[in-house]
Symmetry: C2
C-alpha cells in the first residue's frame, strides 16, 4: 500500500510518499515540499499548490492520501490558507478517486512517537528511525508529511474502514 | 464588464453573473446555487463545487470574479468548509487567468444598501431594484452572490486597480 502524506500550508506544503507491506517496515519513496512565494497573489499560490499536488499524485499513484486535519490557530489568516491547501489536497483526492483521510497532529505524534505532545525533533527522529534514514527529512513540513503517511499506514484499521466507506459511497453514486 | 459573484459555502455556494457598462444600470445574466449534499463525503463535495464553478466560468467567461471574504465565525467546521469553497473559487480564477477580488460582507452591504449592517431582506430588495427584477433571487445565497458582483462593479476603482496588479503580476511571471 502506497500512502501520500500532505502537511498542508500556503507557503510550504509538505509531501511524502511511503510504501508499506504487512510485516515489513515502510519504505520512503520520495519526500519534498511544494513552496509558494508570499510575493505571489493568493489565487496563484493556491493554483501552484494544486498543480504541485496533482503532479505528485500522477507521478506516484498513491493508494491513499493522508492530510493533516486543520484546527483554529492563533492567526486566522494562516488557518485560512492552511484550510484551503488542505481542501485542495482533498479535492485532488476526489478527482483521482483516491481515498483520503484526515489525521490530527496529536494522532500523528502519538502514532509515530507514542506521545501525542511530542515536539518536531522527536517526530523527525522517529521518522528517520522507522524509515532507516541517516537523518530526518527537512524541512519539518516534509518530515511531518512523511509522519502523516506512516500514521495512516499504522492506524490502518480505522482509516481503511473510512476509505472503504468513501469508495463504497463513490461506487453507489456512480462516481467510479 | 461581466462579473461573476461567488458566495462561498459547502452546502450552498451562490453564483451570480451581471453585465455592467458605464452609465447604464447593470443587467442580470444568470444566477443560481451550486448545492452539495451533507451525505456526500467532504472531498467529493469540494470536487462538486470545483466542477460547478468551473462550468459557470466556462459558460459565462466573466472579466472578473468577486468572492466573499471569509472570516472566523462561531462554528469552526462551517468556516473551514466556507474557506475551502472560497479557495476553490480563487483557484479557478487563477486557472482561467481571470482577476479575482475579495469583498467583506460589510463592504457588500454598504455598496448595495448604503448601510453596512443591512439584513438579508434589505440586500435582496436592493438587488431586485438595481437589476429591475420582480423579486430578489432566491435562496439568499444566490442574492448574496449577485450583490457581490454588483459591489465589485460599483467599487470599480479600488478593485480594478487590484485586478490590474494581479494581471501585471501574471504577465511578469509569464503566466499569461
Amino acid at each position: 500500500m502506497r500512502v501520500l502524506g500532505v502537511d498542508p500550508g500556503l507557503t510550504r506544503c509538505g509531501v511524502g510518499v511511503i510504501d508499506g507491506q504487512p510485516g515489513r517496515p515502510p519504505e520512503l519513496v520520495d519526500v519534498g515540499v511544494i513552496r509558494t512565494s508570499t510575493g505571489t497573489d493568493h489565487a496563484h499560490r493556491l493554483l501552484a499548490i494544486e498543480q504541485g499536488l496533482d503532479t505528485w499524485v500522477v507521478r506516484f499513484r498513491p493508494d491513499a492520501i493522508a492530510v493533516e486535519r486543520v484546527f483554529a490557530q492563533h492567526n486566522m489568516m494562516t488557518v485560512t490558507g492552511t484550510a484551503q491547501a488542505a481542501g485542495i489536497a482533498m479535492l485532488i483526492s476526489a478527482r483521482h478517486e483516491i481515498p483520503v483521510a484526515l489525521h490530527t497532529p496529536t494522532e500523528v505524534k502519538a502514532a509515530i512517537t507514542g506521545y501525542g505532545a511530542a515536539d518536531k525533533a522527536q517526530v523527525g527522529a522517529m521518522v528517520a528511525r522507522v524509515l532507516r534514514l541517516p537523518a530526518a527529512p527537512t524541512p519539518a513540513d516534509a518530515a511531518d508529511a512523511v509522519a502523516l503517511a506512516i500514521c495512516h499506514l499504522w492506524r490502518g484499521g480505522a482509516t481503511n474502514r473510512y476509505a472503504a466507506a468513501v469508495q463504497a459511497h463513490a461506487a453507489r453514486t456512480g462516481r467510479r
